[in-house]
Amino acid sequence: MAAKKSTKTAKPVMTDLKGQTLITLRTLKEKNPASLATYEKLGGYQQLKRLITDKVKAIDVINQVKVSGLRGRGGAGFPTGLKWSFMPRYFDGTKYLVCNTDEGEPGTFKDRDIIRYNPHQLIEGMAIAAYTLGAEVGYNYIHGEIWAEYEIFESALAEAREAGYIGKNLFGSNVNFDLYAVHGYGAYICGEETALIESIEGKKGQPRFKPPFPASYGVFGKPTNVNNTESYTSIPWILQHGGQAFADVGVAASGGSKLFSVSGHVEKPGNYEVNMGMPFTELLAMAGGVWKGRKLKAVIPGGPSTAVMHAEAILEATMDYNGLGKAGSSLGAGSMIVMDETTCMVKALKRLSYFFYEESCGQCTPCREGTGWVYRVIKRITDGEGKMEDLDLLADVSNNISGRTICALGDAAATPVLSFIKHFRPEFEYYIQHGKSMVDGK
């Protein structure tokens, strides 16, 4: 039975505590959560049917989404309803819909569970968006490394197609929506929406300069709406219960529930769908607390492109856009990387800067040259050859990358450097002076 054991994977953790409203993982408690039958049993695809058969106006759908306070779950937190209103209404030709399941930022693994446990809600969410925005073709771009999920999604699509939820003339109307799965093959940058679009077109994933935005020039040069998996998956619930109900689940400026991917030094790493605004301490408790009973040292609350936080700061914070903003970081994609007292921040930063160096697409100068520079300087420090001036140099180089690149990877690469040095400067100084880590002595 060795084979069985080795296939064990992290499951989303659901404890029925108060503060959890299952929206995107609605099917989680069911036996066959990913099946069409399960989803239908829970009222799945009824919202899509209602909108189409009742010919509900696009503007009404958009308004519900606006009222819901749903903000893009891909990291930037842009209000989804507002984004939808940018799609040109009249366009002579095909409009496209794209779902971004390319999560590849360290610590982010929520969309994988949506596909594993509730793919049909994503499909319905996309179909509703397609109906609303007049898009007739959609693509879900799935991170290459999660191959099993790509296949799950392909089968879910086949089921939905068979059942008439996607395809031509939905519910006997003249609404068409052809939805396809496409896969990445190992490039973090393709999470950036225009790189993702280039990749769908069969090119290198190099971000496009914006403007023009995808809403006017997207897939194959056509108007395109891009949203994150979790964003689309929230839509059916919003339309079933009303935008206000969704808003009420969360707090001001942060409607709904949010999937937090908790990884690193916690007892029970995994995804937690919790209501926005939950205090960090509660979420940490849900995840079983800090690993091996150790002391919390730092948390990256939203993925490495968000600033690292000292334990004191995060212990006070609530998990929502404003809460984390006030505490000096941001919600990002809700990817909490928890670090306990044994973590060497210099080495952690080295690994993160290697990531951005490795993943830079290479087209724009500051990112291509700067990320390598930053990584090499940090590596020099961990090799015991650091100089005190290096810390200012690192900050300076990072500032020179930030805000001067085509896409936000440049900013993302600068954030950890700036925040790690800012919050843990003594550790860096120690490393430079002693040629070894203050934490593990190695």
């Binding site: 054991k5 590849g104 099993a148 190992g186 077109e201 069969g202 990884s263 790493p269």
Partner: protein, 157 residues
């Protein structure tokens, strides 16, 4: 030459795109050919380019941009282990060390018997199961321990 099976699969991928956008299928086509042949030789890349009617260099650009394409032989089983932050915090370095010792190869090397190749991976979007590794780009193994790695290797032998 592309095999009949590969062509069938590529044709399926092509149904996803407008007719005048054959290029869009290049990522899948490269993946399909790589899966069949084990790696992407220049000939395979040319075949794909020709089949889709795009310049060879455009196919090469794609093949070299994405990590999961292998432009050199990777043996029977390619093991990609994530060493990124979440995995690192869960001691992926121990797993790496174990793998390297056990297989007797470093990163990007193939074992003498041609069975295994070890690669260092970036985030695979499954950090909840850290530490983890992927075998042949398709099979993810999570919550790795030294013992579990041994089991997996045994199965693959």
């Amino acid at each position: 030459m592309l095999s009949k099976e590969s062509i069938e699969k590529i044709e399926y991928e092509l149904t996803k795109y407008p007719e005048d956008q054959r290029r869009a299928a290049v990522m899948s086509a490269l993946r399909i050919v790589q899966t069949e042949k084990g790696w992407l030789s220049p000939e395979s890349i040319s075949d794909v380019a020709q089949y889709l009617g795009i310049p060879e260099i455009a196919a090469l650009e794609v093949a070299t941009f994405y990590n999961m394409y292998d432009l050199e032989p990777v043996g029977e089983h390619k093991i990609t282990i994530c060493t990124n932050i979440s995995c690192m915090l869960r001691n992926s370095d121990e797993i790496v060390e174990h793998l390297q010792k056990k297989l007797g190869v470093g990163f990007n090397e193939v074992t003498k018997d041609g069975k295994f190749c070890l690669k260092e991976g970036e985030c695979m979007g499954a950090c909840g199961g850290a530490p983890l590794m992927s075998v042949n780009n398709t099979k993810m193994h999570e919550f790795l321990t030294v013992e579990k790695v041994d089991e997996i290797l045994k199965e693959l032998e």
